[in-house]
Every structure is written in structure tokens, then in C-alpha cells.
């Protein structure tokens, strides 16, 4: 019988826990959410075992709460991320990340002949499929597949 192992990551009083981040994307998530620029107390763990993801990362940010549109920015690189909103050490709310209909300014268009790779333009994609993810560029109309997605 398998022993259930629990990782002890310090509990936070108020704030947000982001769980089920693919370990390889931890730092991208931190960057996209601007967590490397804020003063709040942050704890994170990475390369933790996950049945679903293989290796996962978890971030706990004290005294920070995210709007839906903010958190959905990580949907491309952490589509199965789960959020626990903590208030007074208790889980007050659970949220999941939802892939938005449009992705702006986060991903690169894979087409080298797309105008967005030649001039300073905020990329914009329509999400045409979610599993696996497929992004249609607003400009060149080509589809960037999940394995081709590169972050800006």
C-alpha cells in the first residue's frame, strides 16, 4: 500500500494559492503574474509529484488576490491550475484557470513571416481549440499549435 506523502509548505493567513502548475513553467507563471516585482511574502515549491502533471509546482502569495482576467493569463502554460483563495487560514473560495477566448501580448506567433515578428506589435490570438491548445493569430491567420507556443 502506498504511503501518502504530504509536503509541508507553510500555510498563509490571507492570500492566494496557485496549485498544479507544470514544474517547468513555474518561473514563467511568476513572471506573467508579476510576482517577481511585488513585495508580498511568497512561498513556492517545485518538482513535487503530481499524478496528473508528473512534476508540479505550487505558489502561495500572501495578501494578494487576483482578478479573473489576471489569473487567466497563465492559462496557456498552466491550463489545469487550481486556485485556493485563503482568508484567515481557511479556504474561502476555489477557482480554476480558464483559457480566455483571446490571448494578448503573451505568446509569440510561430510564423516567421508574420508581421508581428517584424514590427513592434502586441500579439493577439483567438483560442480555437483548448485541448490541445491551438491559437489563431489575428494578423497572419495561421495557427500556432500547443507544442509550438513560445512565450514572449
Amino acid at each position: 500500500m502506498k504511503k501518502k506523502l504530504k509536503l509541508k509548505v507553510s500555510a498563509i493567513k490571507d492570500g492566494t494559492v496557485i496549485d498544479h502548475i507544470p514544474a517547468k513553467n513555474l518561473f514563467k507563471v511568476i513572471s506573467i503574474l508579476g510576482l517577481d516585482k511585488i513585495e508580498n511574502q511568497i512561498t513556492f515549491g517545485t518538482n513535487l509529484d503530481s499524478a496528473k502533471l508528473g512534476a508540479k509546482a505550487i505558489i502561495k502569495v500572501s495578501d494578494k488576490f487576483f482578478e479573473d482576467y489576471e489569473i487567466n493569463k497563465i492559462a496557456l502554460i498552466a491550463p489545469h491550475a487550481k486556485l485556493n483563495i485563503i482568508k484567515d487560514y481557511e479556504v474561502a473560495e476555489k477557482k480554476i484557470v480558464e483559457i480566455p477566448e483571446r490571448i494578448k501580448g503573451i505568446a509569440k506567433c510561430f510564423n516567421p513571416k508574420c508581421i508581428t515578428n517584424h514590427e513592434v506589435i502586441t500579439t493577439c490570438f483567438k483560442v480555437i481549440k483548448t485541448d490541445p491548445i491551438a491559437l489563431k493569430c489575428r494578423y497572419c491567420e495561421k495557427i500556432t499549435a500547443e507544442d509550438q507556443i513560445k512565450m514572449l
Partner: protein
């Protein structure tokens, strides 16, 4: 709010029909001074004699004046000016911009930057909507309808932007059937077949170019280019298969017409030119009337 034409899908079915209506009007009466006092910027960042002359003829027949350039060497792009800055400047001078650019998405971006309407005359391998509209007009003129047609598309269906676009446009009409004839490596891409499947539209794929064309209402020919093959031996094997000659038209329907976006190399034998069913040169002429219609519609001139 200004109107642009960047992709064929920007227009609704009603707008396609409106363009057909206007094109017929301009065919009957090509010289109408609707652009009098207006300046049209013709910006060809990539050379294109046929499309450019067609547009410039249309503009002239509408009484408009043209400014612009015909190739990138004579534009400020050589000084390193961004597309953004060029378009911002030109939209201050002109009332409408017609643009061809080698990069995909350039026209969409130009439309965002410009305060005046933008018509895409071709952006890289992406869209060429005015070609599609003139193809639609040609089909309507020769078949009397855009519904219930059997469309054969032959040649390079993988990279051919004209066939992709025509497929999208024709899929809004009633009950089309598509027949694709191409080498295996140049088949119609999955995304377009999916587009048809989603709409319950029937399509068939063939590798051989045979008398199945006897069922066709339209035969749309495209060129099979050597550069598109990763294996030159494969090209040698197929290069002569997708050629239409006059004898092949013997058992076809009387209403069938052969279309080609031009330039034609060897995929349509010259003996086809004398057939009643050859339509590719008239198709090019329809381009002038269709472009007059597009400019007119986009600028709300009539």
C-alpha cells in the same frame, strides 16, 4: 466607423452579393466619377503587375487620383521606416489605401493603424480577398448562380491561397460540392476540409486528373510549383499530370468554365484558349469591375 477588406471572411454573404450587384453595374458602365476629388494610395511593397494594374484601372475609371509606389525599392522601407509609420503618414494624405505586402498580417495591422479604409491586395501567403471576389463574380456570371455548383479545384491545393479563399467564400452558398484534384503531398489542408465538414458540405479528393471533370460546373486550375516539393523526384513524377488540355474538355458540361488566377505557365495548354469553355482572361477583366465594386462599397460611394 470605417470599413476595411482584409480577409474574405470579413464580408458577410450579403456583402458578397452586394459586391456582385455593384460589379455588374460597373461592367455595364465602367466609367463613373464616384472617386472624383479623392486620392487613392496604391502601396505595393511587393511587385505585382496584374493586381496593381487592375486596381489602378479601376481607380482611374472611377475618376480617382493615385499616389503610391509599385515596389519596395522606391518606398521609404529602404530607409528602414516601419510599416506603422508609413501607413500613419499615408493615411494623412489619401482617402483609401490599397496595399500589397510580402508579410502575412501586414494588411490587418495597416487597417489598425490607418484612419482611412484599407483594402488588402495580398499579404504574403495569407489572403487575397479581391481575387476571391472576382472569382465569385466570374462564377456567378458564367453559371447564373452561386448555389448548387460542383467546383473542381486542381493543382497545388496546399499552398494555393486562392483556392483556400474561394473555398471559404463558396461555402456560404447553398449546397456546393467540392472536388479536389492534387498530388498527395499538395492536398487541401485539414483545416479547410474541417471547415467544410462543420457545414455539412460534401467534398471528394482525387489524385488523378481524369474525366471525372465531366461533372464540373467550374474547373479552377492552379500551378504546381517545383519549389513546393521537398522531394524533386516527386515533382518530376507529377509535374505533367495536372495539366489541362483541350481534349480533356470534350465530355464536360456545356456550362463549365475553366478559371485560373494567372499567370498561367503550362498547367493550361494553349490549345484550351480557343475553347468556349476557357474563361481565365475574361476572369482577369472581371477583376477591374469587381475592384471598382469593392472600392465603392468600402467607401460607401453608391
Amino acid at each position: 466607423m470605417k470599413k476595411d477588406l482584409i480577409s474574405i471572411t470579413d464580408f458577410s454573404k450579403e456583402e458578397y452579393l452586394r459586391i456582385m450587384e455593384l460589379a455588374a453595374d460597373f461592367e455595364e458602365n465602367p466609367n463613373q466619377d464616384l472617386l472624383k476629388g479623392k486620392v487613392v494610395a496604391s502601396l505595393f511593397f511587393e511587385p505585382s503587375t496584374r493586381t496593381r494594374l487592375s486596381f489602378e484601372t479601376a481607380i482611374n475609371r472611377l475618376g480617382g487620383r493615385i499616389v503610391g509606389f509599385a515596389d519596395p525599392d522606391s518606398s521609404s522601407a529602404t530607409k528602414g521606416e516601419t510599416l506603422h509609420d508609413t501607413i500613419k503618414m499615408v493615411s494623412n494624405y489619401a482617402d483609401i489605401i490599397v496595399m500589397r505586402h510580402p508579410l502575412e498580417g501586414a494588411a490587418r495591422y495597416a487597417a489598425e493603424v490607418s484612419s482611412v479604409p484599407v483594402i488588402n491586395a495580398g499579404d504574403g501567403a495569407n489572403q487575397h480577398p479581391t481575387q476571391t471576389l472576382l472569382d465569385l463574380y466570374s462564377i456567378l456570371k458564367t453559371q447564373g448562380t452561386l448555389d448548387n455548383l460542383n467546383l473542381f479545384m486542381v493543382g497545388d491545393l496546399k499552398f494555393g491561397r486562392t483556392v483556400h479563399s474561394l473555398l471559404q467564400a463558396m461555402s456560404v452558398f447553398e449546397n456546393p460540392i467540392f472536388n479536389f484534384i492534387s498530388p498527395e503531398s499538395l492536398q487541401m489542408p485539414r483545416a479547410y476540409k474541417h471547415h467544410l465538414e462543420e457545414r455539412g458540405i460534401r467534398y471528394f479528393e482525387h489524385e488523378e486528373f481524369t474525366d471525372i471533370i465531366s461533372a464540373a460546373d467550374i474547373i479552377y486550375m492552379t500551378r504546381v510549383q517545383k519549389e513546393r516539393f521537398s522531394d524533386p523526384i516527386e515533382y518530376e513524377k507529377v509535374k505533367d499530370i495536372y495539366i489541362l488540355n483541350k481534349a480533356m474538355l470534350e465530355n464536360t458540361k456545356p456550362n463549365v468554365r475553366v478559371l485560373h488566377p494567372l499567370p498561367r505557365v503550362n498547367e493550361i495548354a494553349t490549345d484550351v484558349d480557343s475553347s468556349d469553355k476557357a474563361y481565365y482572361f475574361e476572369q482577369a477583366l472581371n477583376g477591374v469591375f469587381t475592384r471598382e465594386a469593392i472600392i465603392s462599397h468600402v467607401m460607401n460611394l453608391k
